[in-house]
Point group: C2
Chain length 306, copies 2
């Protein structure tokens, strides 16, 4: 009988990464302080966050990003803009942050309000590629595809790669099934895994036999947004499961009441009996996304001052 899968602990790893960043940043600033010399490190890294409108979930995410910045010593600037602003006003704000030498990374919290939604990519593309901390500009995606050193790896895909790396899970020559092909997650992670010498299978809603594809995969990355969709019985024994899904479901309690619960794209209970490694939801990939945002801010800061 197989042992239960080892849990890939996103909380532990993201905490480690934040600790490393904190140490690095405080080290830089101390050196600069002691020497009164090294102007380059005379300020901490700085992330500017733009939030349009009053969506509670977006405000929650932004405030959680702010707290994480503070915890590691990254300065954060929050610009809240009214839900009614025009595209031009938003572009103007981004242009200001682009010009500001004190800002290393610019994050535009998505989604935008309805009247701006259709312009999302244009607006994102107005962020300078050298401050594109989320890695979502078209210019950065081109760098990613051409394996340029100047590419910023989008936060969630980068978080998945970091989890694999820190758990010593090799990707070279492995068959990796990436389920989902969004520009935000599925495609970038397929590219990163390809660059890491995996044989990547890009699956999606039109894939003919997903169960069969799962059975033949050494590593599965699920990013489809369907709660508990991938079954344990579909897995190759000993497979590695990276679950990117974050789905809210209502669960009936013993007393008949309903409780909101967050689950992944993979049925954790059955999958964890068959996999060798698995990320839980919550507590897996999700926590890595913010850690990678901090890491990308640091990377842009170091590029700027180097």
């Amino acid at each position: 009988m197989l042992e239960a899968a080892q849990i890939i602990d996103g909380k532990k790893i993201s905490t480690e990464i934040k600790e490393e960043l904190k140490k690095k940043i405080s080290g830089f600033l101390t050196v600069s302080d002691e020497n009164h010399l090294d102007e380059r490190f005379s300020r901490p890294p700085c992330l500017a966050v733009i939030l349009v409108g009053d969506d509670p979930a977006s405000h929650y995410y932004v405030s959680s990003k702010e707290k994480s910045c503070e915890a590691v010593g990254i300065k954060s600037i929050k610009k809240i803009m009214a839900v009614s602003i025009s595209k031009e006003e938003l572009l103007q704000q981004i242009a200001e942050f682009n010009k500001d030498d004190g800002i290393d990374g610019i994050l535009l919290q998505l989604p935008l309000p309805d009247h701006l939604r259709e312009f999302t990519q244009d607006i994102v593309d107005s962020i300078s590629v050298d401050k594109d901390v989320d890695g979502l500009t078209t210019a950065n995606l081109g760098r990613l595809l051409s394996n340029s050193k100047s590419a910023i790896h989008p936060c969630t895909p980068k978080g998945c790669m970091e989890l694999l790396k820190r758990y010593g899970i090799k990707t070279e020559a492995k068959r990796v099934l990436v389920i989902g092909r969004s520009t935000l997650v599925g495609l970038p992670i397929s590219i990163l895994l390809n660059q890491a010498n995996a044989t990547v299978i890009m699956a999606h809603s039109r894939t003919a036999n997903l169960e069969e594809e799962c059975k033949n995969a050494d590593i599965i990355v699920a990013a489809i947004g369907k709660p508990n969709y991938i079954q344990g019985s579909w897995l190759k024994p000993g497979a590695v499961v990276i679950d990117v899904g974050i789905n809210a479901v209502m669960q009936v309690q013993a007393d008949g009441s309903e409780l909101k619960k967050i689950v992944g794209d993979v049925d954790f209970k059955t999958a964890s009996e068959k996999a060798s490694f698995i990320t839980p939801v919550p507590g897996g990939v999700g926590l890595m996304t913010v850690a990678m945002l901090l890491s990308n801010t640091m990377e842009l800061y170091l590029r700027k001052i180097s």
Copy 2:
């Protein structure tokens, strides 16, 4: 017993495409001429080709592109630059063509001479994305990855897609094995096939069991540069084979002399006994590349005047 594969005739299709382009262009110009009105169509599409140095193969390719342009009514401008030119001189020339409103597409013939080779991507990236007829700029690769309508599809990948389309070969839900992951061919074709709803498997030199991957693929796109590497015995019966390889090999003749011969990445003899459709080499994908160059020039022209 299986019948022999149907040949996907690149010569026939590329000729058809050129005929269609010729008709379209001459139609535009006639309308403009008769009406003395429609300024937009007062000039034919125009492709500028830059060739650095005196490599005979490059000169041959460029002159063949020129002839193809002429045959369909596309104006071509050839700029030959000395092998010794500096990076700055080349960038200056590209900048001039970028500014010239009479030029729709700019093609920089590759490879560049040794002293410029390491700057190839930077130099290519100086071509305006709106004149990037080869689709090789980083900016265009970003557009390609994000499935933007403004993306120009690189010529060889586009040629492969066009062959599949014109032979009525469906890609939706098919398992397509793309062998090779170059930024020029393998990656863009993987992306285009993914956008066409295929389940794409990205294989390469580190793939563990290529033969097994071949056996499970409905369509194989080979772009690895290894003469006659993929064997007929590796194919699923009835598979479709798109052979992008162009390899020169020396073949011993009956009289003991050696003759240079061009072969693909797929062993045509054995593969054509097992496949349902196959592209020959020469006479397959290669001829499509120039046709797609003309088609891209036309596309940039139409965008410009629309």
